[in-house]
């Protein structure tokens, strides 16, 4: 039903997006918690910095990644020398680009959820003998779960659609960085490949609908757990 080429693009898209979401999740939770619960000088600057990928053109993000995280980039060179990690022209770079672009959406959703957790419940937990850390993991985090789920889904959806920063940072390499949007772009550029482009378009719509349905189901489950 699907050609090898399409399956490769589909699996790559799913892999890049999943890795992007899973690796950015801990940072997303930490940043959301800081924004929701801490007051410090420079907080609005920190907030703007996190939201920057939302307003910057993706091409600009791709370019910044290219000069900083590439093999010769200021951070990329260090990472390669110390750990042997390389992001350039590999699917890991695509995942990094997707993670950065989708990060603000994830943080926003989780932050709202943190803000809605009743601090009085946390106080009650403290008087029942739990230290701050245990209160965070037994009260705050579980009550934030609906927000975490919706943040993950939003970030996943945004990662699936990521195009501009990916093609700028890690180029368009079949089987390595050619996700569904990039594959579609390639077909559109090729004369006579309208049929293939249309098929990819349908695939993109199907996974979007599936992930939205799954997210609604998950969010409902999570909400039920919290409010029982």
């Amino acid at each position: 039903m699907l050609s090898d080429y399409e399956i490769a693009a589909l699996l790559l898209s799913l892999k890049v997006s999943s890795v992007a979401v899973l690796f950015s999740l801990p940072f997303g939770i930490i940043c959301a918690w800081i924004l929701a619960r801490c007051e410090f000088p420079g907080k609005s600057l920190f907030d703007s910095l996190i939201h920057l990928p939302l307003v910057l053109p993706p091409v600009v993000i791709g370019y910044i990644l290219l000069i900083s995280m590439g093999r010769q980039g200021s951070i990329g060179a260090v990472l390669y020398d110390w750990f042997g990690w390389s992001f350039s022209f590999s699917w890991r770079g695509a995942a990094l680009a997707a993670a950065i672009v989708s990060f603000p959406l994830m943080v926003r959703a989780i932050r709202l959820s943190f803000e809605s957790v009743d601090i009085r419940l946390e106080q009650a937990a403290r008087t029942l003998g739990s230290n701050r850390l245990r209160v965070f993991f037994t009260i705050t985090l579980p009550l934030t779960l609906p927000g975490i789920v919706s943040g993950m889904v939003l970030a996943f959806a945004r990662s699936l659609g990521e195009f501009g920063s990916t093609i700028t940072f890690v180029s368009n390499i079949p089987g390595e960085t050619r996700t569904i949007p990039l594959a579609m772009y390639s077909f559109i550029q090729t004369p006579g490949a309208e049929h293939e482009a249309a098929r990819l378009c349908v695939i993109a719509i199907v996974i979007a609908v599936l992930s939205l349905t799954a997210s609604q189901w998950l969010a409902k489950k999570a909400q039920q757990r919290v409010t029982s």
Partner: protein
């Protein structure tokens, strides 16, 4: 003994509390809203930090500004029952109860669950509980942490009257069976009459008076501060006779005098606290003979106080070691030419004394 000596500025309110509270029975913290009651218990529980001073429970400093001691709430071993139950919505009743239950002692768990009647609720979730049930779970949850003291911040305020009546016996049981000192914040004298052994009155952040309930109840500090219809006296009494025909109970007071009250709330020999509203007491020079009033006490005027606005006169009537207060009009006072030392008769209407004026004492 809990020794409080703290200071905290809260907006316009300057909370300055210096008091000692015995670590047995129920101590009520009474005051109007905004007097700083909740702020005070939050400081005791460690949820807020005073500006300076010290806080000592037994031999342990909970807070000591000079020694830089400030135990966090989780290390104070002080249970806290809030006005709203604050149950964790994502845990079942059992999960809530076990949240702070470190030693997982099944016998203790069963005792607390039995005492609070929670057996049927264990597998339910907080969202499905009634207000009274939630509050009982919250009390159980605090008890299972094995606290050395329990703070209760108006735990009945959010409940309707039947739920209050349902919960009060549980609270009394608790203080008695578990021998757990309780600090009980309330703005309701009715609740305090039922529950408390001692009382600390807080007014605008300062301690107005602090001591055993019967000593504080109609003390000179307390009376001018209460609205006239709340002014009352407390008497200790024992039920010595029940009149089946008229459904009345005879209450014997310390010095052999007695009162008849409506209804038969308890068997004979029960010890009671009786509240007598000053507005329900009248004064006669001669012993009334043809009166509908059954309760006539021979007494001596110990004190006469004219209220500031001169719209009523408070007369302290002493008999034996006890006394009650009567509120009368200035006109009546002048007509009868009442003066201190004079022998008079106090009349108390029996129908005005109902069960809400009585509390079982232990």
């Amino acid at each position: 003994m809990l020794t409080i000596d703290i200071n905290k500025q809260l907006g316009d309110l300057d909370l300055q509390v210096n008091a000692q509270i015995p670590m047995q029975g129920i101590c009520a913290i009474f005051g109007r809203s905004g007097a700083g009651k909740t702020s005070l218990v939050n400081i005791l529980g460690g949820l807020s930090t005073p500006d300076n001073g010290q806080l000592t429970l037994g031999a342990t400093h909970l807070y000591h500004q000079q020694q830089k001691i400030n135990l966090p709430p989780e290390r104070r071993r002080i249970g806290y029952v809030f006005q709203e139950a604050r149950l964790f919505p994502h845990y079942s009743v059992r999960g809530n109860l076990n949240y702070g239950n470190k030693d997982k002692d099944q016998v203790h768990f069963d005792t607390v669950v039995g005492l609070l009647g929670l057996t049927e609720l264990l597998n339910r979730y907080p969202a499905t509980l009634s207000g009274g049930e939630k509050q009982r779970v919250a009390i159980g949850r605090a008890l299972l942490t094995r606290p050395q003291m329990l703070l209760m911040d108006e735990p009945l305020a959010a409940l309707d009257l039947p739920r209050k009546r349902e919960l009060i016996p549980y609270l009394l049981q608790l203080a008695k069976t578990l021998n757990l000192p309780i600090i009980y914040v309330s703005h309701s004298l009715d609740e305090i009459l039922q529950l408390a052994d001692s009382m600390l009155v807080l007014d605008k952040g300062k301690v107005l008076v602090n001591g055993p309930l019967h000593a504080v109840w109609d003390s000179a500090e307390m009376r001018p501060w209460l609205p006239v219809k709340e002014q009352s006296s407390l008497l200790m009494a024992t039920i010595t006779e029940l009149n089946q025909k008229y459904r009345m109970s005879k209450l014997s007071l310390a010095d052999g005098t007695y009162l008849w009250i409506n209804g038969m709330p308890l068997p004979t020999d029960s010890k009671l606290r009786v509240r007598i509203h000053a507005n329900h007491v009248s004064v006669c020079i001669n012993r009334p003979t043809d009166s509908s009033i059954r309760n006539i006490l021979s007494s001596t005027i110990a004190e006469i106080i004219h209220s500031e606005s001169n719209d009523n006169v408070q007369v302290k009537l002493a008999f034996g070691d006890d006394h009650i207060w009567a509120n009368i009009t200035p006109w009546a006072c002048d007509d009868l030419a009442l003066k201190v030392g004079q022998a008079v008769y106090a009349q108390i209407k029996g129908v005005s004394m109902t069960e809400s004026e009585l509390a079982q004492s232990f």
